[in-house]
């Protein structure tokens, strides 16, 4: 790819991003996203009220949980293990499929731009759309759960969490974009991958877990886990790769998936139903 071709490609991808972002943000899928992300926010607000009233204190194995422990648990269980893969599946697999289903793909594929630029532009729109909803929601949860006095000490950790969530959305999005571009029933395959393969592979000793996204995300996760005293999440799963290795794996997965998805879109015929 020459420098001029590269510039044209990214200009086209930017135009597609501009065209798709508003459409994606105001789609019915965003209501679904608001429900997925809004649940934990409501939960956090309820927990805050309970803490203020002193009525409930969460305990695990008899050990009382601090607010940042609860925050860490919510981020891990509700976001990284659930919301992020779910959003990745539902948005990622639909990047091209939605346009095909709505029969609007013709307008994009009959313009002088590479088809791959359409995919990349839509992928960027997905990323902007989901991070714009997920990251503020997590920030609200943080401020709902963590007392103001503890904010200066833990704010850096929040930023790390936000970075990991954005990376998770990027990698899952790319992976499911590849499924969407290559498979006939990507949604089912995506759900099986996220909630079948990823769960099972994580429990199997050996190298298989390296081929999951969640394994690498957990290596980056900074929070102490609520079993005993300050046992890190990494210790729960015993072996994790180093954060640097995991970031490299995740970026490589994302790059490879996007490249393969772009190739699939370039070569595939999309037959619109009459």
């Amino acid at each position: 790819m020459t420098a001029t071709t590269r510039t044209r490609f990214w200009t086209a991808a930017t135009r597609i991003f501009e065209l798709s972002f508003g459409e994606m943000l105001w789609s019915r899928r965003t209501i679904f996203m608001a429900l997925v992300v809004g649940g934990p926010v409501l939960l956090a607000i309820a927990a805050r009220f309970a803490a203020v009233n002193g009525s409930v204190r969460m305990r695990v194995n008899g050990v009382g949980l601090g607010s940042d422990d609860v925050f860490g648990m919510m981020i891990w269980l509700l976001f990284l293990r659930f919301s992020v893969p779910v959003l990745g599946v539902f948005y990622g697999t639909a990047l091209i499929a939605d346009e095909v289903e709505d029969k609007t793909i013709t307008y994009l594929f009959t313009r002088p731009i590479p088809r791959a630029a359409v995919l990349i532009g839509k992928y960027l729109a997905y990323l902007a759309c989901t991070t714009l909803v997920v990251l503020p929601a997590v920030t609200i949860i943080y401020f709902a759960l963590v007392p103001l006095a503890q904010v200066p000490a833990s704010f850096g950790q929040l930023l790390e969490d936000l970075g990991i969530l954005a990376l998770g959305l990027a990698v899952y999005g790319a992976l499911f974009a590849l499924m969407g571009a290559s498979l006939k029933r990507p949604l089912i395959t995506g759900l099986v991958f996220a909630f079948g393969w990823e769960q099972v592979a994580l429990l199997v000793p050996g190298y298989l877990r390296q081929f999951t996204v969640v394994y690498h995300l957990q290596a980056l996760f900074p929070h102490a886990m609520p079993s005993g005293r300050a046992v890190s999440l990494q210790a729960v799963f015993r072996d994790t790769s180093s954060p640097v290795t995991s970031v490299c794996w995740l970026l490589a997965m994302m790059g490879a998936c996007l490249a393969l998805a772009a190739r699939a879109v370039e070569r595939r015929e999309y037959v619109l139903e009459q």
Partner: protein
């Protein structure tokens, strides 16, 4: 037709969808100017259109557009404008926003894109509705904005798949005139339809397609007489169907007439005279507002059966 001068050349072009054949061994050279692609639904028109617009890859054979292969060659779309048959849009966008966004994909700068979008909307007489959401457009307006996106970048070759569907009589006439004007301005147009009289009003150069094969190519007038022997059905949706029916029965070009919902279904033995009269009535408003004119596909199906037998 010399292939070098042709705007579209296909050689032994075939397309299969699994076991189903969409197009079968089609070899044609479409000359510059206006060419009509005429055939009933399911004849292979849309498959042919999708192949020559690079949306589908040939299963066998080859297709070249403006001298270049089209599949996997997006740069060629800068020279082609395509109006698809499907009624699909980004409904939340306004007509102007949509055209502006699409023409920017052609590499237009923001100011040039806005100017081109306005010019295209003006050409299809949608300037007044430029700021209105496409979701709120009528069927005829949607057809027109679809046409506008095909011409917005001023292409050399226009490929129009059933562009007159859903338009009222007046807009049909204007669109036909517009297509003829484009041809006069040196553009080439390939337009598909299942209505002979529409095609005939734009060009005398036709390709007849049925069952995925080109049955004939050349001058439409040669088959005209044969076709006229067949009664032609026209579906006219109107504000006041009964008033329209009364007006229509005043002349002997109507064989029979019945009402269905808000429409009149007319059988005519002289479609040419009938369409001329209908257009005049729509323009004068003497029989109220005529909202939509369509011709059911079985007209042409019957004609093709007849032609194949010949």
């Amino acid at each position: 037709m010399h292939e070098q001068a042709a705007v579209v050349v296909s050689r032994h072009l075939s397309k299969w969808y699994g076991q189903v054949s969409g197009l079968n061994d089609v070899s044609v050279a479409i000359p510059p100017g206006v060419t009509g692609l005429l055939g009933p639904n399911g004849a292979g028109k849309s498959t042919f259109m999708k192949l020559i617009t690079g949306q589908l890859a040939p299963s066998a054979g080859s297709v070249r557009v403006l001298g270049e292969p089209i599949w996997g060659n997006p740069a060629l779309y800068a020279r082609i404008g395509f109006c698809p048959d499907q009624d699909a849009f980004y409904d939340r966008m306004t007509g102007l926003e949509w055209l502006d966004a699409l023409v920017r994909l052609n590499g237009f700068a923001p100011d040039a894109a806005r100017t081109a979008a306005m010019r295209a909307l003006e050409a299809v007489e949608l300037l007044d509705a430029a700021g209105k959401k496409i979701g709120a457009y009528s069927k005829g307006m949607r057809q027109r904005v679809k046409l506008a996106q095909a011409i917005v970048h001023d292409p050399e070759l226009l490929i129009l798949d059933e562009p007159l569907n859903g338009m009222d009589a007046i807009m049909r006439r204007k669109t036909i005139r517009m297509i003829r004007d484009w041809a006069r301005a040196g553009k080439s147009v390939l337009v598909s339809s299942h209505i002979l009289y529409e095609i005939e009003s734009m060009t005398s150069n036709v390709l007849l397609i049925n069952n995925g094969r080109i049955l004939a190519e050349g001058n439409v007038h040669q088959i005209r007489d044969l076709i006229d022997e067949h009664p032609h059905t026209v579906f006219v949706r109107a504000e006041d169907p009964r008033a329209l029916g009364r007006h229509l029965l005043a002349e002997d070009d109507v064989l029979s007439l019945r009402f269905e919902g808000g429409a009149v279904i007319v059988e005519t033995a002289r479609p040419d005279a009938f369409y001329t009269r209908l257009t005049r009535m729509a323009a004068s408003g003497e029989a109220g507002v005529i909202e939509e004119v369509t011709s059911p596909d079985d007209n042409l199906q019957a004609v093709f059966k007849y032609l194949v037998k010949q």
